[in-house]
């Protein structure tokens, strides 16, 4: 029994540390673009040189997304980001152009598929790397659902105040 408790404790400790590490990395990343982590609920990193079918659903969603959804386009080529922004016709305030490919250097995204981070009160609570799944468009439903749940939670909290 003691052992199980210890394993559980260690498990929770490791998960919590990983999540904290991701939050710190994310916070540092956003600060380098003068952005505040508390302003976003979903942050999506898209390696724009990845294959079209992998990245297009995420890029297209960002075009008309809410203000608390942030798209980060990353590449080692400035032209790739500019061409992609032109192709999907996204407005400046909806995305961050990571020309220095900082997100990949920091391991926030892999070279070929988008990676999503779900945040609550400025803390990463979940990471979804599309590299691990073949369904690259199913994520949009999850993002929408997350926004609905988070909005409901906030509404509930405001009512209890």
């Amino acid at each position: 029994m003691k052992n199980i408790n210890l394993i559980l404790f260690l498990g929770i400790f490791i998960i919590s540390c990983t999540s904290d590490k991701e939050t710190i990395e994310m916070d540092n990343f956003l600060k380098s673009f003068n952005l505040n982590i508390n302003d976003y609920k979903v942050i999506c990193f898209v390696p724009v040189d990845g294959c079209g079918t992998c990245i297009d659903p995420s890029l297209n969603y960002a075009r008309d997304a809410r203000k608390d959804y942030l798209l980060v386009m990353s590449s080692m080529y400035r032209k790739s980001i500019d061409i992609t922004a032109e192709r999907i016709q996204i407005y400046d305030h909806n995305y961050v152009a990571d020309y220095a490919n900082l997100s990949m250097k920091k391991g926030l995204v892999t070279p070929f598929s988008p990676c999503y981070y779900f945040l609550r009160y400025g803390k990463v609570i979940r990471k979804l790397d599309l590299n691990q799944t073949n369904n690259k468009s199913g994520i949009i439903g999850e993002v929408e659902q997350f926004f609905i749940e988070e909005d409901a939670n906030i509404e509930k909290m405001e009512k209890t105040k």
């Binding site: 080692m76 500019d82 990949m104």
Partner: protein, 386 residues
Amino acid sequence: MRYLTYCITIYLLLTNCNTNSADEESRITLEPTSESIYIKLGKREINETALSQYFSDKDSNYLALLNDKYNSIDIYNLDKKVLSYKIRIEKEGTNAFIGKFGFIIKNLDTIVLISNWPPSVAIINTEGKITKRISCEKDENGKFLPFAIPLRGLNGIIKGDILNIVNELSIRQYTGKFTASDHKLLKIVTSVNLKQGNVKILPLDYPEKLIDKDVFNMSKCWEKGYDDNFIFSFSILSDLFVTQDFINYREIPLETDHELKLPENMFKYATDLQGFLNYEKETDAIKDILYDKFRQYYYILIRKHEQELNNNEEYILKNTLYPDCFIIILDKDFKHISEINFPKGVYYFNNMFITKEGLYISEDHVDNPIYSEDALRFRLFKVSKK
């Protein structure tokens, strides 16, 4: 005694002559010269490419680059150092050409597009208008084999009106293993008559050596060389395979001073792209074969395995796009001449071409201190004696 002295003298003379000739060959090398090419690029032009081709037309020299970011073929005039043509490949409409495509240019009037899926060939003019289409979904005997993506090392080869294209290796087993029945069914090359539109799968088999081997993610490359030889390489085998008739091969062991670590058993990475890229870094592979018809040498480009492994995502990507390589020089009879090493982080081996002057290698490696996205830079290398 006099007879013995004569014999010894003649023997020494002969030995000396042979040594001299061997020494001379081993002294052949590729040296960078002070000559270079610099072309300023526009907003919509790039220097990172999966396919480039040098050609000459009406006394002008050109370099065509596949621009997959703008879905175009960018043709530069090397004499004037300017972009002469930008051929946009449309995805919709009457001039649409879909699938992963490559190109092979005979001259400015014969620009051939090759698509892997659906397998098809088209001739396009410099305005982007498709003037001829040939569907390759079935050959003249009703057989079908998909094309491999016709990019660097694997591009189509034109001889007269005949365009030869390498087929995709589509094995039947979901285990990555190349079986005896695959060997019987699958053929390497399809030929397309550009004038008559006939499509024919050629009888050349894959090498028997591949039977029972895991061929998942095995890369291939080929080149047309001296005396109409077609030379193939398969990344899991160290030999070169040479054919003239597309029926039989000659197997030629590739001599090298390096101990090549060839890839093997890659099926375990079927659902793990990251794992595959990591594994690729640990192995060597023939990346391209270039034949220098002006000097009758082959340049075998080998991607080198990494000495120090690094799991950083950006490092893996950079290493995949800009691998460290060396070149083995073979003579026209595939005899080993010498090997050329290059400094790390300077040359971009995806973009190189041969002219009368020598071998031009791109200097657009992202780690090169002079790197800029707005320039195309090449250094001229000349074959010389050490």
